[in-house]
């Protein structure tokens, strides 16, 4: 098969459904590398054989409108909005699905084309219930833009005046409103082909065709992992995130509540997109001022607990390795990261038997919540019952995560609300805040100083790089800067679907104090690690996660790894389901550049050197990393959910 595939993807994957809908060119034709001449609206251009009409037109600045097409997804060719006239063909052709293999002449806006496009749009609008005023995608909707672009001035086939479907608001994360669905199937292709989860599928046929979950059950009752990738690729408001904005405003306005917000790294690199700035414009410090301006009492940096996560997760790894190498006990290795809640739910559903591999460390979001409602509450003599913790996240799955019943070890819900980038931008707009023009300000104490290692959590490979920086220094006693230029561990960076690296431990130092705080530490020298090489892997997107897990089960190369980073979303958090819409590979790359630039700008860049983290261990988590208090507050358990639905 693979020799016939020519799909727009950034990571290697084998789509399991709709294979027939790929734009395929016989391998021998494509391999020839030949160019072919096309004339588009009279403009001549040469393109490599197999280029689609849509791609060729884009190249020369001719914009053909699309709807079901998406840069991240395999081609469907179903909406028919992008039809064009190809000379010599009786019917119009979908430009997204037509690979050019011979010289052709194309016309993109003849009378036939325009009349067809308008009527196709009219047909869609005739089934699309929803008033633009009352829609969260108002101003950011592809259907709306298309209607404007095609000059729609009346509803040729009417317009529904009452909802035809019930809203599915069962999920903590994802909201489904089939009234706004135009059956472009991007969500289906996202869920099945991109993420290989398979919650959403097309069912029935004819005019009864719809997108459905298994037996049309509510999203909360199926194996949805809450990654929200479908939301980011929905052209309309049919898919959205469950929005807690009203509750957050209510608590902000309640004087008896102390409302604090922690902000994750990825939203900073993207929120500017909601204010018309190019992707990858960092607004970290402007956002801090804006958050205070809309009424948050304190603004904290999730990077603080990203550093804490690295120490807890790194210590857990070292302990697992010790048990395996020295005690010769059966230990689940490789250890898997646990900070991506979409990934956590994925493994709970699809590979529950592999849960022992998952680090028990909570995600940075949840750790922060727990620390705020205990350590911070005590420090400031505030009743934790009066504290509201809000988390600004790039991620729809974080909404589900903060509502997990096990996430309340302090006696209070660690995190009260998960707010995503898009929702905060909306709050700013409601409050009349022009974010890019805000003055800059820093984060609040006592968690103020973060490290770059925390920032890079926002990109795929970031958690691994941060962990490696810390583990290498803790074990070797050397500065990572002396091992890697600027401490940039490049082998784990980049958008490749699955990355594998071997990191040699250059020499052994003494066991550092921070680890010795843990009285149960089973060793007092690193001698047992002599000559060791750390084998690590990084993957993003659950389709790649599946490949990694299958390789481990089959005893492949990845089964020899010690530590593997998993992110549910393509690109990592910067491609999260709560990030501004649209998304595509270029946008994600721009956000990644902003994140790594921020990392390079920090002075202290390693988690175990973060003074605030060290203070937290000294004053509060006195049993040290993986010690008793840390374990109670910062670690969690998982639920083997399986994928069988009652």
């Amino acid at each position: 098969m693979s020799d016939h595939e020519n799909v727009n993807v950034e990571s290697p994957r084998a789509p399991v459904s709709q294979r027939g809908h790929l734009v395929r060119v016989p391998a021998d034709q494509r391999a020839s590398g030949a160019l072919v001449e096309v004339a588009i609206d009279g403009l001549e251009v040469q393109v490599p054989i197999g280029t689609t009409i849509l791609e060729a037109a884009r190249k020369i600045g001719v914009k053909i409108p699309t709807l079901c097409y998406h840069d991240d997804l395999c081609v469907a060719g179903v909406c028919r909005i992008c039809v064009v006239e190809v000379e010599g063909q009786r019917t119009l052709q979908a430009s997204c699905a037509y690979p050019i293999t011979a010289p052709i002449a194309i016309h993109t806006h003849t009378r036939k084309v325009r009349q067809s496009r308008r009527r196709i749009l009219d047909l869609l609008l005739g089934k699309h219930y929803g008033e633009c005023y009352a829609c969260f995608r108002n101003g950011n909707c592809e259907l709306q833009a298309l209607a404007a672009g095609c000059g729609v001035d009346f509803f040729r086939f009417g317009h529904p005046t009452a909802p035809l479907h019930e809203l599915d608001s069962s999920s903590y994360s994802v909201l489904r409103d089939m009234n706004k669905c135009i059956l472009c199937r991007r969500c289906v292709r996202t869920c099945i082909d991109l993420q290989e989860v398979g919650v959403l599928e097309t069912v029935h046929r004819g005019d009864k065709t719809t997108v459905s979950t298994f037996m049309n059950k509510p999203l909360a009752e199926v194996i949805c992992i809450n990654c929200g990738q479908c939301i980011n690729r929905c052209p309309t408001g049919a898919l959205g995130a469950a929005d807690p904005t009203d509750d957050v405003w209510r608590d902000i306005n309640d004087p008896s509540k102390h409302v604090v917000i922690q902000t994750a790294p990825a939203p900073r690199a993207a929120i500017g997109e909601c204010f018309g700035l190019p992707p990858g414009t960092p607004l970290t410090f402007e956002m801090n001022s804006a958050l205070r301006a809309i009424g948050f009492d304190k603004v904290f940096d999730t990077n603080f607990t990203a550093d804490l996560t690295i120490i807890e997760e790194g210590t857990e790894l070292i302990l697992r390795l010790h048990r395996a190498l020295v005690d010769r006990q059966p230990v689940a290795l490789p250890q898997f990261t646990s900070c991506s809640p979409g990934w956590v739910k994925y493994i709970e559903h699809f590979y529950p038997e592999m849960l022992p591999h998952l680090s028990s460390a909570k995600s940075p979001q949840q750790m922060f919540g727990a620390v705020i409602k205990t350590y911070y509450a005590g420090l400031h003599h505030i009743d934790p019952a009066d504290i509201v913790t809000v988390a600004l996240m790039p991620c729809s799955a974080k909404k589900f995560e903060c509502n997990r019943p096990e996430m309340a070890a302090s006696g209070h819900k660690d995190v009260d609300y998960g707010l995503v980038t898009r929702e905060l931008a909306q709050m700013f707009k409601e409050a009349g805040i022009e974010l890019p023009k805000m003055p800059k300000s820093g984060f609040d104490e006592p968690f103020g100083t973060a490290t770059g290692s925390g920032v890079i959590f926002g990109a795929t490979g970031g958690v691994m790089e941060a962990a490696l920086r810390t583990v290498l220094e803790l074990v070797s006693g050397l500065k990572v800067e002396n091992l890697y230029d600027h401490a940039d561990i490049l082998p784990v960076r980049g958008f490749e679907g699955i990355k594998y690296a071997e990191i040699r431990i250059p020499r052994l130092g003494t066991v550092p104090d921070i680890l010795r705080m843990n009285a149960q530490l089973p060793f007092d020298s690193w001698a047992w690690l002599a000559g060791a090489t750390l084998k690590v892997a990084v993957c993003h997107g659950t389709a790649n996660a599946k490949r990694v897990l299958e390789d481990i089960k089959a005893g492949g190369k990845l089964s020899e790894c010690h530590f593997i980073e998993f992110m549910a979303c393509p690109g990592g958090c910067l491609g999260g389901g709560g990030m501004p819409i649209p998304t595509n590979p270029e946008i994600r790359a721009a956000r990644a550049r902003a994140i790594y630039a921020e990392d390079a700008a920090y002075e202290v860049r390693k988690s175990h050197e973060n003074p605030a983290v060290l203070r937290l261990y000294n004053e509060f988590l006195t049993g040290g990393p993986n010690g008793h208090t840390a374990h109670r507050l910062l670690h969690t358990t998982y639920t083997p959910r399986g994928k069988y639905i009652a």
Binding site: M1, H4, S17, Q18, R19, G20, H21, V23, R24, V25, P26, D28, V75, A76, G77, V78, C79, R80, I81, V83, T91, L92, A94, A97, Y98, P99, T101, K112, Q115, S116, R119, I120, L123, L124, G126, K127, R156, F157, I182, L183, R185, T202, H204, R205, G206, D207, K208, T209
Partner: protein, 396 residues
């Protein structure tokens, strides 16, 4: 030559063994050349030259290729493949085997219409007999050529007769047409070069191999050669399966079947065209009124709006639902017909619906949506007075 009779006249005279033996005695390119010389066109409806299709598949580079027989026969008013499979299955199986030899495939699959499940047992028995006789298997007729045939059942979706939807269905997916190009001859079943042909087409192949291209090309017209089976139904005295040469005028066909007083004839099934009495002099052939073989006769008392409605209800249900013009458009046309029935459809809206039908023909993804408005459009064109100006009461 006894053409113009009820039943399978020509096909019953053909010896399938002779056809297969003659084909295997030749090189693959010679088989294809013979079909090209016979000017055989596909009997499934689209009328694509079989020689061209097979030579493309023969040229496609792949060590695995497939021969698929389209026995989905879902077009309303079509039932000739059923008769072929019941009476002369060996002609079809031999044709598929010849196809395998011509393109370099060693596996054939018959995609049998779900409702024809009762035919499966006798067909399996026919296959077993052919295997026992060495006409299928590792060494067909003692040559190094290996070929076998499997029967797979459809599940009742009309669209699965469309060749790429048929392939999707065989692969275990929703039966939905694919984007083309690439065509099945390049990337078909399981991504491999594949020929998909109608049951009757394969029978014709065997006949051509047995009796030669000149014999075949002498029947019919210049561009539409060979005998053709017609499934005739509706308001006529003698419905049934007929064999006629291509190029027969509609009026002559009606005389043959006892439908002289017809006011219209639907040729080509639901997706075909509604021919009014004024055009009964036209001939049925690829250069005239093209058809896969379905002829439905409408007597003088038929309500043409009812006819249009019946067809439209079929398409609303049978559209696979993937592309906008067909999924939504058919439903709008049906809605328009209901408005016409009630006398609520203005001339302006009827013009709007006509335009919509044309857009569906142009912009739909597959032949279903491209042809589903045909019946409606031709009825609007030829029976405008009959369908307009109804009163609400008359409709009840």
């Amino acid at each position: 030559m006894s053409l113009g009779h009820q039943g399978l006249v020509t096909f019953r005279m053909i010896d399938p063994d002779a056809g297969l033996a003659a084909a295997l005695a030749r090189r693959p390119a010679e088989i294809v050349a013979e079909l090209t010389a016979a000017r055989l066109k596909g009997r499934g409806g689209a009328g694509f030259p079989t020689g061209v299709k097979w030579s493309l598949a023969a040229q496609a580079a792949s060590d695995v290729k497939y021969v698929l027989c389209n026995a989905d026969e879902g077009e309303p008013g079509t039932f000739k493949d059923r008769v072929i499979l019941a009476e002369v299955p060996d002609l079809v199986f031999a044709g598929m085997t010849i196809g395998g030899a011509a393109i370099g495939a060693s596996k054939g699959i018959v995609y049998l219409r779900g409702e024809y499940a009762y035919q499966r047992q006798p067909l399996e028995e026919a296959l077993a007999r052919r295997r026992a006789a060495g006409q299928l298997g590792e060494r067909v007729l003692g040559t190094p050529f290996a070929f076998d045939i499997e029967i797979r059942m459809g599940s009742g979706a009309y669209v699965c007769g469309e060749e790429t939807a048929l392939i999707e269905s065989l692969e275990g997916h929703r039966g939905e047409p694919r984007n083309r190009p690439p065509f099945p001859v390049d990337a078909g079943y399981l991504g491999r070069p594949t020929i998909v042909n109608n049951v009757e087409t394969f029978a014709c192949v065997t006949a051509i191999m047995a009796k030669g291209a000149p014999w075949f090309a002498a029947i019919g017209t210049e561009k539409s050669t060979g005998p053709k089976l017609f499934s005739v139904s509706g308001d006529c005295a003698r419905p049934g399966v007929y064999e006629f040469p291509m190029g027969l005028p509609v009026s002559e066909l009606l005389r043959e079947v006892g439908g002289e007083d017809a006011k219209a004839v639907q040729i080509g099934g639901a997706s075909g065209r509604c021919v009014p009495a004024s055009a009964f002099a036209s001939t049925i052939c690829y250069e005239g009124i093209s058809t896969g073989g379905s002829v439905i006769v409408f007597g003088p008392d038929r309500d043409m709006l009812r006819v249009a409605k019946n067809f439209m209800e079929f398409f609303v249900e049978e559209s696979c639902g993937q592309c906008t013009p067909c999924r939504e458009g058919n439903a709008r046309l049906l809605q328009g017909i209901a408005m016409l029935e009630d006398g609520r459809c203005s001339a302006a809206y009827l013009a709007e619906l006509t335009k919509l039908g044309e857009v569906m023909q142009l912009a739909s993804k597959c032949g279903l949506g491209q042809s589903s408005p045909n019946a409606f459009l031709s009825i609007v064109e030829h029976f405008r007075d009959e369908i307009m100006g109804r009163t609400y009461a008359a409709a009840r």
